[in-house]
Amino acid sequence: MVPCQMKATGLHSRPPGAHWRLSATDPKPLTSTIVRDDEAALVSLAKGGDTHAFEELVNRYERKIFRLGMNITQNREDAEDVMQDAFLKSYQNLDRFQGDSRFYTWLVRIAVNEALMKLRKRRPNQVSLDEPVPGTDGEDSVFREIEDWGPSPEKKFAQTELNEILNSVIGELDPIFRVAFLLRDVEGLSTEETAQILGISVAAVKSRLLRARLKLRQKLNKYFRRSETQ
């Protein structure tokens, strides 16, 4: 398994190669890094015209940006366009990158905008990034299905089958929640970075993230509960 390169807080923290602690009562912050320290140097070289330095940045992030595109758009062709446009635009506009954020965060912001544009084109009436009205399908419905999943519920499935399940449930999420979850929990960005990319407040990110996590938990429950037989 490839470790999720998470920011260094609570649940998202583990040393390379270590297993997650599943204890519900011991979320201790450790340290990890999402980007190598030489990112700024590569950006500086690329700004000066060093195409090899930019290629190194591309090599470093192409899989992550493709995965992000796939996860948001749920479509391979769209994901390819998203990835290509994100790298070409970032190269084109490299002079405008001031280094206020990490290059990767800036790149993700471009990719997210491209991906959301694709979604809006495909489903113009269904994709809104407006803050949703608090509903009854989020926090209030949590206690409808309470079943233990056992220690390693994902092991009930072969990798391919598990990937299909994960793709399916994340695809069912409203884009507004999906993107917050992907940036924060899959890409490992901080809440502040996620807020910056989405142009919303930290409180709004937290709210969307909570609802996304609860909804995904609920959707996965039918696959992972102990009573589910294969």
Binding site: L11, F54, V58, F66, M83, L88, N163
Partner: protein, 81 residues
């Protein structure tokens, strides 16, 4: 702390972002409420499962098209400068 409050603070708890007093209250509640304990545990596992899932492989043809497009862009930029 009641169950509703636990759910509202769930994300912060999982992210290790609760202050120690709130965390203690929440964990006291988890010690006596099986439902909340299961919700916290399964929510944590939900994140872990996504986090640990195999990344989508980048198909070679897709990668090749990206690098061709970049090379073309590099050439164009070199010509204009």
């Amino acid at each position: 702390m009641n169950c509703k409050k636990v759910i509202l603070e769930l994300s912060s708890y999982l992210d290790g972002a609760l202050d120690s007093s709130m965390r203690t209250d929440l964990e006291e509640h988890l010690g006596r409420c099986t439902d909340c304990r299961i919700v916290v545990d399964t929510c944590r596992k939900t994140i872990q499962i996504f986090c640990n899932s195999e990344p989508v492989p980048l198909p070679e043809d897709v990668r090749s098209r990206l690098h061709s497009a970049l090379l073309e862009r590099f050439r164009r930029k070199t010509k204009t400068t």
